[in-house]
Symmetry: C2
Subunit: 317 residues, 2 copies
Amino acid sequence: MAPGGTGARRLSAGVSHAKVNSPAVSFEKTLGEFRTLIDQRLGDLLPDPTSSPGPLHEAMRYSALAPGKRLRPCLCLAAAIACGAKDLEAVLDGACSLELVHCFSLIHDDLPAIDDDDLRRGRPTCHKVFGEALAILAGDALFALAFQVCLASHSNPQVTTKLGTILATASGSAGLVGGEVLDILSEGKKGDIDLLQTIHARKTGSLIEASCSFGAILAQASEASIQACGSFGKSVGLAFQIHDDILNETSTSEELGKAVGSDKERNKLTYPALLGLKESERLANKATQEALESLSQLPGDTELLRNLCLYSVQRKS
Amino acid sequence: MAPGGTGARRLSAGVSHAKVNSPAVSFEKTLGEFRTLIDQRLGDLLPDPTSSPGPLHEAMRYSALAPGKRLRPCLCLAAAIACGAKDLEAVLDGACSLELVHCFSLIHDDLPAIDDDDLRRGRPTCHKVFGEALAILAGDALFALAFQVCLASHSNPQVTTKLGTILATASGSAGLVGGEVLDILSEGKKGDIDLLQTIHARKTGSLIEASCSFGAILAQASEASIQACGSFGKSVGLAFQIHDDILNETSTSEELGKAVGSDKERNKLTYPALLGLKESERLANKATQEALESLSQLPGDTELLRNLCLYSVQRKS
């Protein structure tokens, strides 16, 4: 059974009235509308905090509904539009499943045994508020929920099996979790640009690439468009992560909503540490250009994807 | 893409030659053959320890291939036979995905922040060997792999979407993870039989029920048979867990391959603690009887399911 069955009609209406592609509506406004839609739907999909076990559901909601960029679900929605989707209702749950996986990974990465971070999205991390046991299990439950939501996100089981497989592959040992392990293993060690690229491609790139593929698949795009969205996502993921490394070096904790400089403290392999700030910026811009070039192959309105790509390397947090 | 694509032919031959239903082959021998098949297939499905990141893959294999009862995949195979399946090749990967979820949950439950156990399946727990960070991430990667395997376990996407949804629901906040949280929250508190039943139904029952449903679905059984297998699994899960509580009270650490008496130490809610050993045994037998009654509705050979049910309450470890 699909979790959180309510609210679909309301969300659908919200999306169709948003006129996301009208030139009169600014990118920032559209992004804000997307985030509102995503947060409303996440709120519906997440288990009720008054149902048992309450503390688990509270921990899940605390982390998943904390203010965030919602980059992955926004990329998914924008990719669907770039592939010609008109009604985003069929895309929203797939988009939310990506955010649930992202959120699960943040909770586990922040744990004392891994990155030991106290601050995330401007709030104390999940384990600081709910304790380590509940944080581990809230991460696990969000990961399970991501698959429930993903597998109920479309009426065609061929589509959902494909999406679920992409989500599992992007999350597991060949993707996000494998990248996190490589990141940990590289701490304090000499590494080269190849290793750094592998870490980033898995840890950040895999889910961002999956996000763009999700949008194309849910828009029932051609195989060529699905591939083009995947390539776009791969390049955006790289640009995003290089910019993340730069921000971790140049921003304040207040701006980022999480601890800064911690990469340096841990002797983490980062682009600025390996190549300096200037060369890192050049590479981020190069990846951005490659991403933008992929867009020419898509049949729909690519303006939002283009803006999200530029936002990834221009954001301040 | 299906992970671990090799070995299917060999396994298929192994299964078809096993003559699992021949009266001449004892239950123990069949169980041993099942376990060998499952372990071989798990070995193929798990990532290669020589591929990167090696330590993650080693941790995943260390835990997933540790000697175990393999109750869940065995129930899945036996349920398929009870529903008339002749060739178990189509069932084996679904069965393995259940074991991968079980294994992920054991690694996380054993963590210092949760049950803090040093011994599991007769070996040091995953975090004792690989450290906490790798143990958390190995659990996560096994969970992701479970969905990859499950979603590639059958050629019909309607079947795989159904199985994936059952697996996610049985694992998440309404199942296994939710049960673990209730278990933690109940420690040292006064609880009643209703709460205890809820904990067990979620923490152990949900995945055992799913295991029996998986077998029926993969055997393309009728809706009535799928329901009957689910009911059987529900009762077996209860009987298994009551017996587990009893063993934790009456066995040695050597017999169980894990710490004993720890339930009492933590003031955990258990059947013996709440009702005494004698009444606990009576309830385990009652659940066993209810399970056996469900079998009459199944069209195939139910001997193995019957024996697995009896084994659940007669085992010494």
